[in-house]
């Protein structure tokens, strides 16, 4: 009898344990169904729809839509804007992270908050700020137009807006990483006779490279995909100041569905590539991190 009783007790305990953790088979099925269903309905289906619409009239129509002059110009402009703003943000981001993590100074936390500002401000506002400064009615507008310099409704404005919106990515990725790594290795390099550049390129950079790449990747994805801020300063001049997101919107508004989705499919592809690269980098970061903790032990 006692053995039987024990068996009953342990079975009851097992059931309670499972219920407590939501491990009941029904609960598991419902959660899985909801989670995957949500993913399917809100992410996979729209993504698939983009490609289906883009290829709706076949490969030739797709290629034709992308090689149409205005579409091709938007692709070139997007690449140009990213090619300017991403390297600049890389340099500024590294400098900001370096200053914040390797030196002690007053107003440090204020600077960190300031770096985050572009994340907390609506992109439209960011765009309007540049119009306010450099537009015809803006602070520097009259002087700029007198000297024949065009910023708003031109490429420089788009680059400025993109830099503003994407500034935090690199710095934010690096600051916690560099804070954790401290300054001892840099000090060791200096004592061994290395100058500032040698210290940076041989010691600091190799230690932060995966985090830096990760930040650059996110920065690039946003730089190419930014809509709001760029839309305000662009002026939507076809073939001249339309980036790919803006071009997509225009084409869609003109009921040119295949062309709109063809351009959109490139942006979607960029997102997919970013996603894969991001996973790889996250894995490398983790590996680098665990070797670092092993180092400290």
């Amino acid at each position: 009898m006692p053995a039987d009783l024990n068996a009953v007790m342990s079975r009851k305990a097992e059931i309670r344990r499972r219920l407590l953790l939501g491990e009941h088979i029904l609960v598991r099925a419902i959660l899985l169904f909801l989670g995957l269903g949500f993913l399917l309905a809100f992410i996979l289906v729209p993504l698939a729809a983009v490609f289906m619409e883009a290829f709706g009239r076949g490969w030739t129509a797709y290629v034709a839509a992308l090689s149409e002059p205005a579409a091709a110009a938007s692709i070139r402009l997007t690449l140009l804007v990213a090619a300017i703003s991403v390297p600049l943000n890389l340099v500024f981001g590294v400098i900001a992270a370096w200053a914040i993590t390797k030196f002690e100074f007053r107003g440090k936390s204020f600077l960190i908050t300031l770096i985050d500002l572009p994340f907390s401000v609506s992109p439209v506002i960011a765009g309007l700020v540049f119009v306010l400064m450099f537009g015809l009615q803006g602070w520097f507008g009259p002087w700029l137009s007198d000297n024949g310099i065009k910023i708003i409704f031109a490429v420089p404005g788009i680059v400025l807006a993109t830099i503003f919106v994407t500034f935090p990515f690199v710095a934010r990725e690096l600051i916690p990483l560099m804070q954790e790594q401290g300054t001892e290795e840099e000090e060791a390099a200096i004592v061994l006779g290395a100058n500032g550049w040698q210290t940076f390129f041989y010691v600091t950079l190799p230690n932060i490279k995966w985090g830096l790449l990760y930040g650059v990747l996110l920065c690039n994805a946003r730089a190419m995909g930014e809509f709001g801020a760029v839309s305000v300063v662009s002026g939507h001049i076809r073939g001249q100041t339309n980036t790919m997101p803006l071009q997509t919107e225009i084409l869609y508004n003109e009921y040119n569905i295949v062309a709109a989705f063809s351009v959109a499919s490139l942006l979607a592809l960029l997102a997919l590539v970013t996603l894969v690269a991001k996973s790889v980098l996250e894995w490398r970061l983790k590996a680098a991190h665990s070797s670092h903790s092993g180092h400290a032990a």
Binding site: E184, E185, E187, A188, A189, I190, V191, L192, G193, A194, N195, Q198, Y202, V203, P206, N207, S291, H292, G294, H295, A296
Partner: protein, 370 residues
């Protein structure tokens, strides 16, 4: 290379890490900076190496002020507390770093660098690890890499910040002896920081005891241990019994203990605190001094706790093993106590020192109840 530290001060806000510190180190000496955490010893080391700058005072290497020179130009070898190895490099690359970053005019050829690095790795007995990543090494191996890397630039001064702090006891002892031999062979000036008194006393030619940004005493290990200059040094180096006493006409009186009649304190008068090392107390068969409470006989020294009958204070007494007879001495035995050596300090000084040591080491303040 000789080191001259002259009236150096360093403050962090309101906190004085170093307060008017002066010290000279002769060429080829091995010096220990000993003190609790927060005593300023690491700050002093970093200032000499060029990793920090003093608010006042001067640092001279071989008679020349080096405050206008950065760390790179001073040619000081530095071993960091946590080694600070370049974690993305191999053992070989770590050691070669100091040679590779030299301007091309003074940089040795690739073959020479490889030759020197391998010689150094042999010297520190880890040449078989040259291709390993430093993340794969044990603590003791990392320590050796850090040392080889510091020696690669052929420094005339070697500075080590808590070199053995992160190692376990056995490795620590081996490395300590080995470092002493290395120093003697290479003939450089060596300064190391430690909070471990045993390490400092065993390894160094001279020990500099630091507390709260000051130098408390400088001397040979024997001088420091046998003749501490003040209560702080007494407290920090080894165990000590603090007993309230009264000095009259040079004669020291401690309640419950017999003070050797040869001991005279003519320069002191009135109430004070007597500092007595546990091995400077002798047990006699006379009754009425104290009662043995605890005996720990595990090694060359028998350690005892003895409760004084008059005051109830518990003191530590050390007895050489050959004088210990388990048949006559057990817990509960009543014994007489004779003090063979002591030093008396004013009560206020003793109190301040006890507080300072307790603050620095995080221990409780224990003072004799008068």
């Amino acid at each position: 290379m000789s080191i001259e530290i002259s009236h150096v001060s360093r403050r962090y806000g309101d906190f004085a890490a170093l307060d008017d510190v002066s010290l000279s180190v002769a060429k080829g000496e091995l010096i220990a900076l000993l003190g609790p955490s927060g005593s300023g010893k690491t700050t002093l080391l970093r200032i000499v190496a060029g990793l920090d700058w003093p608010d006042g005072g001067d640092v001279l290497l071989d008679g020349k002020s080096v405050l206008d020179h950065g760390a790179a130009e001073r040619g000081v070898g530095f071993v960091f507390q946590h080694y600070a190895l370049f974690r993305h490099m191999s053992v070989f690359d770590n050691v070669a770093f100091g040679l590779r970053v030299r301007p091309s005019a003074t940089r040795p050829s690739k073959a020479e660098i490889a030759d020197r690095v391998m010689k150094l790795l042999k010297l520190v007995q880890i040449d078989w690890l040259a291709d390993r990543s430093v993340t794969q090494l044990s603590g003791g191996q990392r320590q050796r890499v850090a040392l080889a890397r510091a020696l690669a630039i052929e420094p005339e001064v070697l500075m080590l910040d808590e070199p053995f702090g992160a190692l376990d006891a056995k490795v620590r002892k081996d490395l300590r002896r080995w470092l002493r031999r290395l120093h003697d062979e290479m003939g450089m000036t060596t300064v190391f920081v430690t909070h471990d008194q045993e390490e400092a006393l065993e390894l160094a030619d001279r020990v500099v005891v630091m507390g709260q940004g000051h130098i408390e005493q400088i001397g040979s290990p024997h001088e420091i241990y046998a003749n501490p200059a003040n209560p702080f040094v007494f407290e920090f180096l080894g165990s000590v019994n603090k007993l309230p006493c009264n000095v009259a006409k040079g004669d020291v009186g401690i309640e419950g203990l017999v003070v050797d009649s040869a001991i005279r304190m003519p320069e002191f008068d009135g109430r004070g605190t007597a500092y007595v090392r546990p091995h400077d107390i002798e047990l006699t068969s006379a009754h009425g001094g104290g009662t043995v409470r605890l005996i720990a006989a595990s090694g060359p020294i028998v350690k005892m706790d003895v409760e004084l009958d008059k005051t109830g204070q518990v003191i530590e007494v050390d007895l050489p093993l050959h004088r210990y007879n388990p048949a006559t001495l057990t817990a509960g035995t009543s014994v007489g106590l004779v003090v063979r050596r002591l030093k008396v300090f004013p009560e206020a000084e003793a109190e301040a020192a006890a507080k300072a040591v307790a603050q620095a080491t995080g221990a409780e303040v224990s003072l004799p109840s008068p």
